[in-house]
């Protein structure tokens, strides 16, 4: 198994940057929509993470936009 390309914290940092927030403000179970995240930005994130080798699926992330959920999906993918 290769080293994970993305960690929970890099994920948090990427999300924080795209919505213009400080990473420390975003808790694992916070609903990211409340921070102004929208579908277009989710797709932008997926695209950027894809460039780093982590292929995530919009439908999986979109249903529950929290870092905790996303990380669980990402971990599963990175484990494969």
């Amino acid at each position: 198994m290769t080293a994970p390309a993305i960690s929970l914290d890099t994920m948090r940092a990427d999300v924080a940057r795209i919505i213009g927030e400080d990473p420390s403000e975003i808790g694992d179970d916070d609903n990211l929509i409340d921070f102004g995240l929208d579908s277009i930005r989710v797709m932008t994130l997926i695209q950027r993470w894809g460039e780093k080798g982590l292929k995530l699926d919009f439908a999986q992330l979109a249903e529950k936009p929290t870092l905790a959920h996303w990380w669980s999906v990402a971990s599963r993918h990175q484990a494969e």
């Binding site: 102004g36 995240l37 579908s39 277009i40 930005r41 932008t44 439908a59 249903e63």
Partner: protein
């Protein structure tokens, strides 16, 4: 029991439900995809995968029913999932056959009540070539849902062939989605979101699209696709990433700016499709969820693009957070119902990436042929999976855009995207693509023409020398040869010289029209002075202001006037009188200098918007260009006689005065005031054989009203000074034998700068001002002086040789209006203040003044459009609309009109007819009938002289008929209002109605009148109201109009089994006129008599008009045996509604033959003779020899019945499908016919053609009024005289029309008054009996 469960539609579904029910035959809500599959496809596995995925998607398996409280969907219906496999591999071109098959499927409308809403087909085009057609109604799926479905199908297929499952593609529960939707309704979140949107749109910004017109999706759309390469894509994505922007938001911003460039407003509202999946179970449910978010953008072109895009992105983010609230609901909240009242303009749909569709071992290519309604224009941008390239799909509504315009917009948009992404600010980004800009520059040099650099003085002298004995001038009984006129000119020049005038001076000429005036002007320019004309009939105050203003800049050396007028001028003014003792002939003339090309030739004062007149100084070089162009372009020369009738203070007079004497023609001076007297003008034209003359269009309209002018031959008539209405052009050619030329130009550019031949064959509406004269450039620019694309409205700027030097003594004003030409260094351009657009043929179209735009209740209104709508009513000859203060701080529209001769104006009828052509908010609140429109001294419309209307109560009249009263009660019931507050003019939607309530209202109407509306023996409740569809509530939304529709439906008699197509009953009522004197119009060949609607409008309210339609429209009816049998049948029909009295008949074409047969039968039965009006019918004898017509002929007839020409379909074989599509595309009601009705029409055409050939006419012992289509039948033997053996007395009227247009608006304006007169006569003689 498993029990079927029914659910209300989701909010997302409701809008689409109504869209489909409003237009049941529209297939545009089929969302399709075409996937070409290359490779060894396992068909069994594929079929299993598709069917399994469908079984997993209950949202697609729902069925719809009309429940008591609105539509419902039934869940858990037995699974229907089935993929059909169709083998097309035997076809000549299997791939093409597959695509054709899919086209047909896409074009088939689905009825949500009866049809399956999912079509899955695998078309075999070869062993390793398949095309998969998936067509699902938008009511149950959206684009994102389709991607989920595709992905699931691929996963299931791949699992079968590779044994690797993909559980991530499983769907979430549709029940959960429905629960989420139900929980949202009435929730706090909904309240919050509603408040957000209502606040954002509280001011209901005016929304305009790129193209004018009503944005309601028709049955098809144009699509133009362009691949956007990696260069542009990278420029966009790189720039977005550098600014921490999501690139789709950047593209949306640029697209919004592109739209704003075309609408001419910095504030623009576009629609952004919103998938609505984030944070919702819908993220994994294939269903219809998507919404359209209205995005308000203020395009500030002066800030860096990143800054603008960031603010747009913030707006988008906020919108998406509130994105569950339906935009359809917001429209209802805001009262924006109907195609004209829009919430947003173009759609901008950016898809960052598609979910890939990959079948193992198969190379697949997925296309989306249609994804829902195209109301206006949709920009869809899809990025490829890697985000390296993009594809633009530009979909447009064909009623608003041509295919060519769509193509242009696509290329322009891609160029704009590229340019914007490389410029710091939008301000630096051109609107035109590089190719368009190049072409624009080429056009601007196209008028270049060598013109001698000389003076008017020189040209006049040369011509006088060249033809001394030719006739130069006629004034009353007096005549001058060129030599004689030259002598007079020299004498007068001597007088001026002796009075102290020299080159460069200003000579004021204040003379009534006479040969003296001509000589004074000639002499002034010959000696290098500039003339300044004054009109002695102008108010003294105005004359004084002009003199004061001129004196300040260039003290006039002399004022040439008459002794009688001297009191107008100050005592110390240097007056020089003509016609007095001091103009004694001298033996020797005094020598004088001659001017140079840059010297001033004349100074003409025009009114300024501030009320202060401005003196425009025109140099010789400028007017020489104008006159030499005109002389050459129109071939004016010796033999021509030009009428001088324009006051010298109006610059049109300049060419009248000078063109004859530089081309060798003769000038005929009209007596003073003759220019206002059509009768006198007509006499002058006849007496002198005038070949060339000018009118201001409103004066031309008066001229044509004068019967003396009819039949005049005038070689060339020029019009300018106002817009030339297209109807006036057509009237001109109906009465005058000659050319009509539309010229345009301000005084500031030497009379005219553009020209257009308004020929009889010209069908332009509006009539263009045309192309530039020599050495002249016409620029249509935006507010930043950037060239605009064709058809986009901007301000007109003029450049080139004809520009004035400026305003006399007003350098600041001169600099303001004459600004540096950004395209030709060192030159100036003149800002006209006129709105214009350029057509694709480069002709310029004038659209009014920049300062005459009216805004009422936030809606932009072009008064010209309303005027055109009023004039379209045959009772009106001329109309002007003005926005007047309503005394309460607001504005109201007032229509001023002049009635057509013999047509009394009924304001109520006019209001109805205007309301039928423009949106309600554009219907004037009051109409004022005038004897004539007030004209200013220059003959232009004088708006200030229009009287104020007396506003009577606009609260509306009380309901007056039983139907109206019952309707008021229904309105009150549906809208929960007090019936006492509802008037007959109240509009259902303005009272708070919306589409859901409209459906309720329709149901109540059907409950009330259904049984009376149709005596359908089946008693089927759904059929009882066949004559009224939901659309009626939208088109006739006031109590009065709806009541009229119900009454008309009630008047239709006789059972009729062709259902769902109203207006096919055998007898239909076409107006609400008085039944004491009814006219019955017999259908032409097609069996339908809707074509008489215009005639019916024109005859209301004096005469009721009924249309008699063929029984054969009903496919089950027995075919008629003979024309005489048809005639007897129709008499029976008529006697059912009019038991006694003379029967008045009219018939066009075959209808005339039938009407004649009816009249013969009636007279044989001893009935008193009624009116028999025949519209270009010819007896059977003329047809008997011709071969039997084919279906082709029947289809042609159908196109003609629609008032169109077959050539408009292009050079193709006529098929039923093509003709119906054409009729639908042009929005003709015939296009709405059901297949059964269409078959009926074609059968009737065939039957009529056959029966007419067998028919033998009897003799009608009365008088027939006959209208001949005078523009047709050239080279045939057809003549009304052929009726001589069958009609005792024939009164023939020649109508300047083609046969096919004889019931059109233009012809009707001639036909209707004649018929009205004849009917009146019948009534009078009838009452005497």
């Amino acid at each position: 029991m498993t029990g079927r469960r029914t659910r209300r539609l989701t909010q997302a579904q409701e809008g689409l439900w109504f869209a489909q029910r409003l237009d049941p035959d529209n297939p545009i809500l089929n969302t399709g995809q075409i996937v070409t599959l290359r490779g060894p496809l396992d068909r069994t596995a594929f079929k299993a995968a598709v069917e399994q995925a469908l079984r997993e998607a209950p949202a697609l398996a729902v069925r719809f029913i009309d429940g008591p409280d609105g539509p419902e969907q039934i869940l858990d219906d037995p699974a229907f999932a089935c993929l059909d496999i169709i083998d097309l591999s035997a076809a000549t071109d299997p791939l093409q056959a597959a695509l054709d098959h899919i086209d047909r499927d896409m074009a088939r409308p689905r009825d949500p009540l009866h049809d399956l809403l999912v079509t899955e087909e695998l078309l075999i085009a070869g062993p390793d070539l398949h095309v998969w057609n998936q067509n699902i109604h938008h009511l149950v799926i959206d684009g994102y849902g389709t991607s989920l479905l595709n992905r699931r199908i691929a996963a299931l297929y791949n699992e079968t062939v590779t044994a690797v499952p993909d559980p991530d593609t499983a769907f979430a529960s549709f029940d959960d989605l429905l629960a989420e939707d139900a929980a949202y309704q009435g929730s706090e979140r909904e309240t919050k979101e509603r408040a957000y949107w209502n606040e954002l749109f509280a001011d209901r910004p005016q929304v305009i699209g790129i193209a004018p017109g009503e944005a309601t999706s028709v049955h098809s759309f144009h699509r133009y696709t362009i691949d956007i390469g990696p260069e542009v894509t990278k420029a966009i994505t790189t720039r977005a990433r550098a600014a921490e922007l999501a690139w789709p938001d950047l593209v949306t911003t640029i697209a919004g700016a592109f739209v704003a460039r075309h609408t001419g407003t910095a504030d623009t509202v576009v629609g952004v499709p919103h998938m609505g999946r984030l944070g919702s179970v819908a993220a994994r449910v294939p269903a219809m969820v998507m919404n359209v978010l209205p995005l308000r953008m203020h395009i500030d072109e002066d800030v860096p693009l990143e800054e603008l895009a960031s603010s747009v992105a913030r707006q988008l983010i906020r919108g998406r957070r509130h994105g569950r609230y339906r935009s359809e609901q917001l429209r209802r909240d805001l009262g924006l119902i109907g195609g004209e009242r829009r919430l947003y303009g173009p759609l901008i749909n950016i898809m960052p990436f598609d979910m890939p569709f990959r079948l193992h071992g198969i190379d697949s290519d997925l296309r989306v042929p249609g994804a829902g309604a195209v109301d206006d224009i949709t920009f869809t941008l899809r990025a490829d999976a890697a985000g390296e390239t993009m594809r633009l799909e530009l979909d447009t509504n064909p009623t608003l855009y041509t295919a060519e315009r769509t193509r242009q917009l696509g290329h322009r948009f891609v160029a704009f995207l590229h340019a914007a992404s490389t410029h710091e600010k939008l301000a630096n980004t051109p609107t035109l693509s590089p190719e368009e800009l190049h072409r624009w520059q080429t056009v601007q040099t196209s008028s270049t023409h060598p013109v001698e650099d000389t003076t008017l003085a020189d040209l006049l002298a040369r011509r006088a020398m060249a033809q001394p004995d030719a006739l130069a001038l006629i004034d009353g009984d007096r005549r001058w040869t060129y030599a004689e006129l030259e002598r007079e000119t020299a004498h007068f020049a001597s007088k001026l010289r002796l009075a102290g005038v020299k080159k460069g001076d200003v000579v004021v000429v204040a003379l009534p029209r006479s040969w003296n005036l001509v000589v004074a002007l000639l002499a002034t320019v010959r000696m290098g002075a500039a003339y300044l004309p004054l009109d002695l009939t102008h108010p003294p105050d105005r004359i004084k202001r002009i003199l004061d203003s001129a004196k300040a800049a260039a003290k006039p050396s002399v004022i040439v006037t008459t002794a009688e007028a001297k009191t107008i001028f100050p005592d110390d003014a240097p007056l020089l009188f003509v016609g007095q003792g001091n103009d004694v002939l001298r033996d020797a003339d005094v020598a004088f200098e001659t001017p140079a090309p840059e010297d001033a030739a004349y100074i003409i004062y025009t009114s300024g918007s501030t009320g202060m007149p401005k003196g425009v100084v025109i140099e010789h070089r400028a007017i020489v260009n104008r006159l030499l162009w005109m002389g050459t372009h129109y071939g004016i020369g010796p033999g021509d006689r030009i009428l001088q009738k324009t006051p010298a203070t109006f610059d049109v007079s300049v060419w009248e005065f000078f063109l004859p004497f530089i081309t060798g023609a003769t000038l005929v001076v009209a007596p003073p005031d003759a220019h206002k007297d059509p009768h006198a003008l007509a006499a002058l034209v006849r007496e002198h054989g005038i070949t060339t003359m000018h009118f201001v269009p409103s004066m031309l309209a008066l001229f044509l009203d004068e019967p003396q002018t009819h039949g005049l031959a005038i070689h060339r008539v020029f019009v300018s000074g106002e817009e030339l209405p297209a109807d006036l052009r057509d009237r001109f050619h109906a009465f005058i034998d000659g050319e009509l030329h539309n010229l345009y130009g301000p005084t500031e550019a030497a009379v005219d700068v553009s020209y257009w031949l308004a020929a009889p064959t010209d069908i332009s509406r509006p009539v263009p001002i045309g192309h530039p004269v020599w050495n002249t450039r016409l620029y249509v620019l935006d507010a930043r002086f950037r060239p605009l694309p064709s058809d986009v409205v901007g301000e007109l700027f003029l450049a080139g040789r004809q520009l004035a030097r400026g305003y006399l003594g007003q350098p600041d004003l001169t600099d303001e209006r004459f600004i540096p030409d950004p395209f030709f260094a060192g030159e100036k351009m003149y800002r006209t203040g006129d709105l214009a657009r350029v057509r694709d043929d480069e002709a310029v179209v004038f659209l009014g003044r920049t300062d005459h735009q009216v805004k009422l209740r936030g809606l932009r209104i072009e008064l010209g459009e309303i005027e055109a709508a009023i004039v379209a009513d045959p009772a009106v000859a001329q109309a002007v609309v003005d926005a007047r203060d309503d005394g309460a701080g607001g504005k109201r529209l007032v229509g001023y009109l002049v009635a057509a001769p013999g047509s009394p104006i009924d304001s109520e009828a006019l209001r109805v007819s205007v309301a039928s052509r423009v949106p309600d908010y554009m219907v004037p609140s009051a109409f004022v009938t005038l004897d004539r429109l007030p004209l200013s001294a220059n003959g232009k419309l004088d708006r200030k002289a229009l009287p104020d209307p007396s506003f009577t109560s606009v609260a509306g009249r009380a309901p007056s008929t039983d139907t109206e009263r019952r309707l008021v009660a229904l309105f009150a019931e549906c809208l929960h209002l007090d019936a006492a507050t509802i008037s007959a003019d109240d509009d259902f939607f303005e009272l708070g109605g919306h589409s859901l309530l409209a459906a309720k209202l329709l149901k109540r109407i059907r409950d009330q009148w259904g049984s009376a509306l149709a005596d359908d023996a089946s008693g089927d409740a759904g059929r009882a109201g066949v004559v009224l569809g939901l659309g009626v509530i939208f088109t006739d939304s006031t109590v009065a109009r709806l009541a009229a529709r119900i009454d008309a439906a009630l008047a239709a008699v006789g059972p009729f089994s062709v259902t769902d197509s109203e207006g096919l009953a055998q007898l239909i009522r076409l107006n609400r006129g008085d039944t004491a004197s009814s006219l019955f119009c017999i259908h032409p060949a097609g069996g339908i008599s809707w074509c008489y609607a215009g005639l019916a409008r024109a005859l209301a309210p004096e005469h009721a008009v009924f249309g008699v339609q063929a029984r054969g429209l009903d496919a089950d009816a027995a075919p008629p045996e003979s024309i005489d049998a048809i005639a007897a049948d129709y008499i029976g029909l008529i006697r059912a509604v009019q038991p006694q009295g003379p029967v008045h008949l009219a018939g066009w074409s075959v209808g005339g033959i039938i009407a004649h047969a009816m009249a013969v039968q009636l007279s044989q039965a001893g009935e008193p003779p009624g009116l028999l009006a025949m519209l270009d019918s010819y007896p059977s004898d003329s047809w008997r020899e011709q071969t039997d017509p084919s279906e082709d002929v029947a289809l042609k007839a159908l196109v003609q019945i629609a008032g169109r020409d077959v050539s408009e379909l292009g050079d193709v074989e006529l098929t039923r499908e093509r003709v119906m599509r054409f009729l639908r595309d042009i929005g003709n009601p015939l296009g709405m016919l059901s297949d059964a009705a269409l078959n009926g029409v074609l059968n009737v055409v065939a039957a009529n053609n056959r029966l007419v050939r067998q028919h033998r006419h009897g003799l009608f012992p009365g008088k027939a009024v006959y209208f001949r289509a005078a523009l047709d039948h050239i080279g045939t033997d057809l003549s009304p005289d052929l009726w001589a053996p069958y009609i005792k007395q024939l009164e023939v009227h020649e109508v300047s029309s083609l046969h096919a247009h004889l019931t059109g608006a233009v012809a009707t304006s001639y036909v209707a008054p004649v018929i009205a007169q004849a009917l009146r006569q019948h009534r009078l003689t009838g009452s005497e009996n």
